[in-house]
């Protein structure tokens, strides 16, 4: 019988939540790496028992942990992320040049074909790759060499490369997003990159439709439609039908189009989920009501999903990497909150239950569907 394993990164450790295919009764393991921030954990699609975790603190820096037994035991692997060549500068908050400085790994993206290969998105924004299961990391320096790096500016959370999607149709095509530089695409496995921000409008930058400077919060893609991308931007939910060459807004009837998380149903490429957040300064749901919104039409038309979610006095946030879907026949949807809840819906969002209520603030949620 199929089962699922939910990998949860929090401000004070990681947790692994496991259930059979019914997804009603859950086992909770953790905390792993207690006291450390775990920005992200993700398993290899090739070898699901191989899981990588990004573990860090302000005190002791960055570690990468690897498990080869589904998260039962862990081994620290390489943690040196050295920028290629002379790192140069990006813009600081006050507009002055600031040296590129490694802070942490935000996102780990294991290869779709090789269990030893993983991409890592880091702060200050850069993309690294390991081909030896995490022992050593090397920058894919073409990204910062696009010529625009010196003008990139950090968002409130830092200058972070937080989203990595490898196209399932062509593994040489990679999409990434940086706050607050925008989205980028490589068609040659990360050697060279181009900005893909045409159609984005942001009031918070001097030229609203500039090619760069947009605070892209997250991207999502369905494997069967590799050219269709969905984006939750700082404000606006966007869609591209041409692999990011151009974007159009699909916020439609959302109560607010600010938010962080976005994901796509496992079997319905036009079914998209977002969690609207009140505004850029009010990082909680409108009216204290936690609601996922689902569009079955690829955007524009959205319906609130509230059954089982708190509908009063709820002032949590859902961060960019804290939503995921499983691939069981009836798609499960999961998200974690800064209040420490992890909610699961085994019916595509129609109803929700909290797997756990009181974890540390949730930074990321990933799901593995196991045979």
């Amino acid at each position: 019988m199929s089962s699922v394993r939910v990998l949860v990164g929090t401000r004070k450790g990681a947790f692994i939540l496991s259930a059979d295919g019914a997804r009603r009764s859950w086992r909770v393991d953790g905390p792993l790496f207690g006291g450390w921030e775990v920005y992200h954990l993700k398993g290899s699609p090739v070898d699901p028992n191989r899981i990588f975790a990004s573990q860090s603190t302000s005190w002791f820096g960055q570690l990468i942990q690897r498990s080869d037994d589904g998260g039962v035991t862990w081994e620290p692997v390489g943690n040196q992320f050295l920028y290629d060549g002379v790192p140069g500068t990006h813009q600081w908050y006050d507009g002055t040049p600031h040296p590129w400085e490694f802070a942490r790994v935000w996102h780990l993206e294991p290869s779709l074909e090789d269990p030893d290969t993983v991409l890592a998105g880091v702060e200050d924004a850069a993309l690294f790759r390991t081909t030896d299961a995490g022992q050593s990391w090397h920058e894919l320096a073409g990204l910062r060499a696009t010529g625009t790096g010196p003008t990139w500016q950090p968002g409130a959370g830092g200058l972070c490369l937080h989203t990595i999607i490898v196209s399932p149709a062509d593994h040489r095509r990679i999409f990434i997003a940086i706050s607050a530089a925008g989205a980028f695409r490589s068609d040659d496995a990360g050697v060279s990159w181009r900005q893909i921000n045409r159609g984005l409008l942001s009031e918070g930058i001097p030229v609203e439709d500039a090619e760069e400077g947009h605070c892209v919060h997250h991207l999502a893609l369905h494997p069967s439609r590799p050219d269709v991308l969905y984006m939750q931007k700082h404000w606006d939910v966007m869609r591209s039908d041409n692999a990011g060459d151009s974007w159009y807004e699909v916020s439609g009837n959302l109560p607010t189009d600010f938010g962080f998380a976005i994901d796509v149903h496992a079997h319905e490429p036009e079914t998209v989920y977002v969690v609207p957040i009140t505004s850029d300064s009010l990082h909680y749901p409108p009216d204290g009501q936690l609601r996922v919104y689902r569009s079955r039409t690829g955007g524009h038309e959205w319906e609130p999903l509230a059954k089982g979610l708190p509908q009063r006095d709820c002032y949590v946030n859902v961060l960019r990497d804290a939503m995921a879907v499983d691939t069981l026949d009836e798609c499960g949807v999961y998200f974690g909150t800064t209040g420490g809840q992890v909610y699961a819906s085994p019916d595509g969002g129609d109803s929700w239950d909290a797997i756990v209520h009181d974890l540390p603030a949730v930074l990321s949620v990933e799901v593995q569907t196991l045979a």
Binding site: S58, W59, F60, Q62, L63, P76, N79
Partner: protein, 98 residues
Amino acid sequence: MIRVVLPAHLKKLANVSGEVSLEVPSPLTQASLLDALEARYPMLLGTIRDPTTRRRRAYVRFFACESDLSHDPPDTALPRPVELGLEPFVVVGAMAGG
């Protein structure tokens, strides 16, 4: 043998309990002690000092003989009682919220 006390998180990472005992080649300095510590416990690389600049991480402190040695140059000789194994070299996670 040189005695080293690690903070709880780093003890767990290095799979040790209690103090660590190290052979450190002369001269005994912060730098030579940390070189020996990282050679014996490579999983600690980057957790106490930056792997590139080899500077102490901002929220790490070094104490010995009731003195704060954190701001001493890395090549400064450590106190004689540390060299004799009478006092430990203490690595501390700085007091800061969170």
